[in-house]
Amino acid sequence: TQLLEQSPQFLSIQEGENLTVYCNSSSVFSSLQWYRQEPGEGPVLLVTVVTGGEVKKLKRLTFQFGDARKDSSLHITAAQPGDTGLYLCAGATGAQKLVFGQGTRLTINP
């Protein structure tokens, strides 16, 4: 079984601070996605990274895929209360499946 470990599982910080969430595995993935989930809703895709070492930016969010394609990170600059939510990483396997990490519950306090 290919596992994705996310850390931290819970993070509560003040508005304006920076943070990084990590997604690690011992397995190689063909791509990694990051999703964000609001209460009562399904996860919504934020970004997909495909190439080892790839960096993608989405406004204040920066996503990086490790060189060996086993890990990824999500960095948020100047966090805002609207960033509050559950962040999930997911890895695509060759068997048409998506494997998810356990999630990071992020709370940004005003």
Binding site: S30, Q33, G42, P43, V44, L45, L88, Q96, L98, G103
Partner: protein
């Protein structure tokens, strides 16, 4: 919006009864998935389908069965519900040639 509808959105059922959850999509995508979400576990794959009548098991398939008799519908059945199957169930689709998944709004199932 990937046109995914899950029904019912909420259900309470008794231990030992069979339960069927439905996922309906309007865009004829080939790949459909059923996940369950529990605190501390993220999303865990139950079963998935790669075409009509083509299904396979995920990592937590025990106690669940699926059917896909037409492209647009993917049914998840709990053969004899147990309290450990209390969870939020999500259906997802994936478009041909893409890796990203698009999710329905979930079904909250409580087994008492």
């Amino acid at each position: 919006d990937a046109g995914i509808t899950q029904s019912p959105r909420h259900k309470v059922t008794e231990t030992g009864t069979p339960v069927t959850l439905r996922c309906h999509q309007t865009e004829n995508h080939r790949y459909m998935y059923w996940y369950r979400q529990d605190p501390g576990h993220g999303l865990r794959l139950i079963h998935y389908s790669y075409g009509v009548k083509d299904t396979d098991k995920g990592e937590v398939s025990d106690g669940y069965s699926v059917s896909r008799s037409k492209t647009e519908d993917f049914l998840l059945t709990l053969e004899s519900a147990t309290s450990s199957q209390t969870s939020v169930y999500f259906c997802a689709i994936r478009r041909q040639g893409q890796v990203e998944a698009f999710f329905g709004q979930g079904t909250r199932l409580t087994v008492v």
